[in-house]
Symmetry: D2
Subunit: 359 residues, 4 copies
């Protein structure tokens, strides 16, 4: 299950310490102008070493576009791409060969497959998300032609939470001021200080990403098992370390129906809702209001603090995880969240087109 999407489909491949990470994007419509700058920008947002908040691993992450493009435009053929791994220090992982790191995929992969590329987490490494970011950039190119935008923010780090919970009210300008893309100056400072402290403690910390999609037309998403929010949840929860997803009013179930229902009104041009507890999706289908959702990311499991665990024979061992790891999934996960949302929306776009009234 390394393929995502129905009509706009990414097949991802590669391991952390193998030859590289890449993907094949099938179903991208023809005639789309390829924006190389966008791909580079998105990769750069995800790349380690961009700020003091992240790991020291230093990958150039240059992408090679192998197929599906002719004279600067997509042709409708599959777009294959590859980002080669360069700054690997696989020997850093030798000591882990037969050991299961706590809260990692080591034990489950070992049990499922009986063989495991232990170097840097192999296939389960978050480095795999490069494939999503590149494919997501193509999805964004498609969405851009329809003036659809996607923006992810940091809204919580450890216990530091934004008071404003409605992310459709977040200020992109304020967010642009800090590397966390957090729309609150003071909170952003505190969050960065917390991440720095946690890094010093050789520990890690979790956080929450809030994401807003603007410009969606009415009618994207499929009823029953292809609901737009269910597809978004599946996409976002496929990102390593993601533990929860909610959209619109989400887990805030304390209000009554009379308070949470979104009244419709006609503004002279189109039908709108006075509030947006529905998060822009009703019955699984976009209603033309902004879509917004939140995603929880657990503290990164790789910490340098010594931990108890077992090896594959079941013998108790103590490990101290080496290698270069982020103290927090945020902010590097922000472009990955946007990319996965973009993949879901591009797919929903093509599905909606296929369903357009013929008769």
């Amino acid at each position: 299950m390394n393929t995502f999407g129905q009509l706009f489909r990414l097949s991802s491949f590669g391991e952390s310490h193998g030859r590289g990470i890449g993907g094949v994007l099938d179903g991208c419509p023809p005639g789309l102008t390829v924006d190389l700058e966008l791909i580079r920008k998105e990769l750069s947002r995800r790349r380690p070493g961009q700020s003091a908040l992240s790991t020291d691993r230093n990958e150039a992450d240059e992408v090679e576009l192998i197929s599906g493009i002719f004279e600067g435009k997509t042709t409708g053929a599959p777009i294959a791409f590859l980002v080669r791994n360069t700054d690997m220090r696989s020997q850093d992982y030798d000591y882990l060969k037969g050991i299961f790191r706590p809260s990692h995929a080591d034990y489950t992969y070992h049990s499922k497959y009986g063989i495991r590329d232990h170097r840097g987490g192999g296939r389960s490494s978050a480095r795999e998300t490069i494939a999503r970011v590149v494919a997501g950039a193509f999805a964004k190119m498609l969405l851009n032609t329809m003036n659809i935008s996607i923006e992810a923010f940091t809204s919580q780090i450890g216990p530091i939470v934004l008071e404003q919970q409605d992310s459709t009210l977040f200020s992109s300008e304020l967010a642009a001021e800090n590397p966390l893309h957090c729309p609150d100056r003071e909170k952003a400072e505190a969050m960065m200080a917390l991440i720095a402290r946690v890094k010093e403690e050789q520990d890690s910390v979790g956080g929450v990403v809030s994401c807003v999609v603007r410009g969606l037309p009415v009618g994207w998403g499929e009823p029953v098992f292809g609901k737009l929010h269910a597809r978004l949840a599946s996409a976002i929860l496929s990102i390593p370390a993601c533990k929860g997803f909610e959209y619109g009013s989400g887990f805030d179930v304390s209000q009554k129906g009379s308070q949470q229902n979104d009244a419709f009104y006609f503004d002279g041009e189109r039908i709108n809702t006075r509030s947006n507890h529905s998060g822009g999706i009703q019955g699984g289908i976009s209603n033309g209001q902004p879509v917004y959702f939140r995603a929880a990311f657990k503290p990164i499991a790789s910490i340098r603090i010594p931990q108890e665990t077992v090896d594959k024979e079941g013998a108790a061992v103590k490990i101290q995880i080496q290698g270069r790891h982020d103290p927090c999934a945020l902010p590097r996960v922000l472009p990955v969240v946007e990319a996965m949302a973009a993949l879901v929306l591009a797919d929903a776009c093509l599905m909606a087109k296929s369903k357009e009234r013929i008769v």
Copy 2:
């Protein structure tokens, strides 16, 4: 998109006020003894009119098994089933023909399809979940042969929340005492009182379902885009009114990695974890610990309190929703949550079998 699953696949059909609700379950392994009592029991848990907490609609919900069964056992052929609608009062919905109920799927279906069966919500009605409950019962029959159990609890109604958040510690015995299947006597009383009050007020209220799966072997779930929790999220969020999903530590990101990592140890027989913040899933694959997750359900959108809205021409209208509606998605949604989880797990079981080492 009315089909769910890769190998164990349900195709659902039917409308609230059409001839009936049914499904086709393809991929169910052969030789499974069909437990009719289980199907009836699950349907009965979902059926309206079982307690003072739900709507008065009174459907017998008798299921006809049409195919795929021979001499009391599954044959490997698709299992079709149908529950006919009987107690419909479609005229109750005549006044809604051109009107969009707030926070319902009326407006989005109308916009997407240009045609809409308005009677009782048509295809978007929660009555569709009958198909999931029947198919889920077959999934449970399969899981039962492996001693895997699934149990859903009510853990929140409106602002009333259980203190104990770890649902693996919930008492099934205590839960069995009340119709909400809430494992806390006092809280259950308060929740039921709240639902009764809200019903009287012609309003509605939301809640949270906690669900525990026990007995899963290590190795179910597929990496990257088929992660077990992502499939569960997609399944659960496809249930009407569901707004959020979290598993394990979920949105509780305030702790550090050193606190949340689950240490492995060998108990003499197998490898276990000392804590279970991972929620029984690591890298998208079951690790042999209990799987637990929570799902948020918004207040039912159908309330009798008068509401502002528009008709399909955009004219402002005031509506007072008639028909028979629950004041709360819980407890009737509990068997639906279990059924969707069962469908995901049965599918994961077949996927895992297909991947078993050949060489």
Copy 3:
């Protein structure tokens, strides 16, 4: 694998001597006027007992449309339908319970599933094709709105072959004169006489269906693994007793490239080809010329002549197959061939729509 299609998808269910045969058609575009007469006509063409050429089993084959239709139009929701079995004589099959009929699916189903509904072939019965004919009628309704027609002819029975091999030159008028829909009066007579003789001999005979599709636009079909002819082949070869498929020049490989290449020319309005050895498909995509293909059907395996075989313990037994069986798959298979072609084309239509240039 009881589901066919990517976007226009049929899930088929039912057994020969179970409660009935039916299907769920998902993805049919909304707003299509349901032509009940067409469904009845197609079912009637497939129904036994329509001419002296077929079995005596007498099924009314009344279809119940269960869902997905509102006020005479499709709604975009799944269309479930059911044709109940009525004229079953299951006891006719009791003697076959543990015996494998030669060239039937008895042995392979038994080996694969370990359990088998032996009555009338169970799931492997050609009665299953009712589901295809009903779903195919919906596909035809969709194609009709675009003036696309599909017509299947009998072009060979046993050794009696039409001289004219290019089915695009067949006369529909002549074909309409005889129950085989064979466009050659004399040959049709001879074929019917042969079928009658074979029936008398309690034997069976094979034949070839030729099918022509007119009115296809340029651009349907997907490159590489979704080629239009590959989808057609897969569809047609899924019909019981089908052993071969060819399109355009097919197995006639004796000519050279200079003879078989189809020269393009512009007729003032559009680009055409002077010949059509390509069968209307180039690179897997329709080129606007008529699509034509041929399908071979083996002699029906159920014959009354005594045969040697074994039972499930491997003991040699002699059987004489009872029950009511056709001496030839043709002409009853003609509407099934058309239906499968229609399903492929409706699906290709939706796929093509989804790929339409967005930018």
Copy 4:
């Protein structure tokens, strides 16, 4: 639609004159020893310039295995691979930029996508089959562990046909003597002479491939829409230039049921059939006998003889196709036929595993 398979899935990418051809193989079971020699051997059989019968294009076709392999074994992660294009002479194709070659995919791709990589046929080039051959080699590695063999023969070139039509009787030893892998010395000579003459005439010629699979267990293949022969047909007809597929008795429908039915008998160890008109498949499921099928390949459309055609404005032009082209799809297509058959069988193997009786 550049992905093939349900569980053992190849996603193919690349163009004739782009950076290379490659694929991602997902679902390959873990622990399989990677036989690099086999991959090279299969690629070499497909490579141009191996005999006087084929084009002069000289590609080294060195494959890079990018992911999914660790210490010489498959890990269960997707296997990405890339064969870079090196000996391209794209300028050979400049004159074709706006011209539609007869019986090629130029016109249909242009119409469908509005943009086309005209160099060497772009995505529609037979060079794409490299991806199938590499993935097919992995499928063969899997099948080899079960002693399943696949062998393709040349059984017809132009009008020269083998008298022996039952390919299960072909001699592999005789076939190994000539580059066509034709099991008849004299006919092979004549066929090679014909290909040489046609090449001299700057023309091309068609042919038929016969393929035999031995060692299949009983029970592979899925009923109704996943029939083993329907999957094989879809696979084989997805190969460029393939126009027809038949298995077992195929288009030979002149015999009666009493002649074609395959009587079962027990040989002391297992159930066999006395004849094999069923081609090893009954009801879509393998019955343990050899599977054999035939595939027709039209004359290669690229001929140097001048041809009439039009350009994209519809103006009549005369073209003389340059570039390096084979005069016949055979013998280079033989390993491609085997590869596609291997992909179908590996997939059927995993599907059968997933269905194994659980209860």
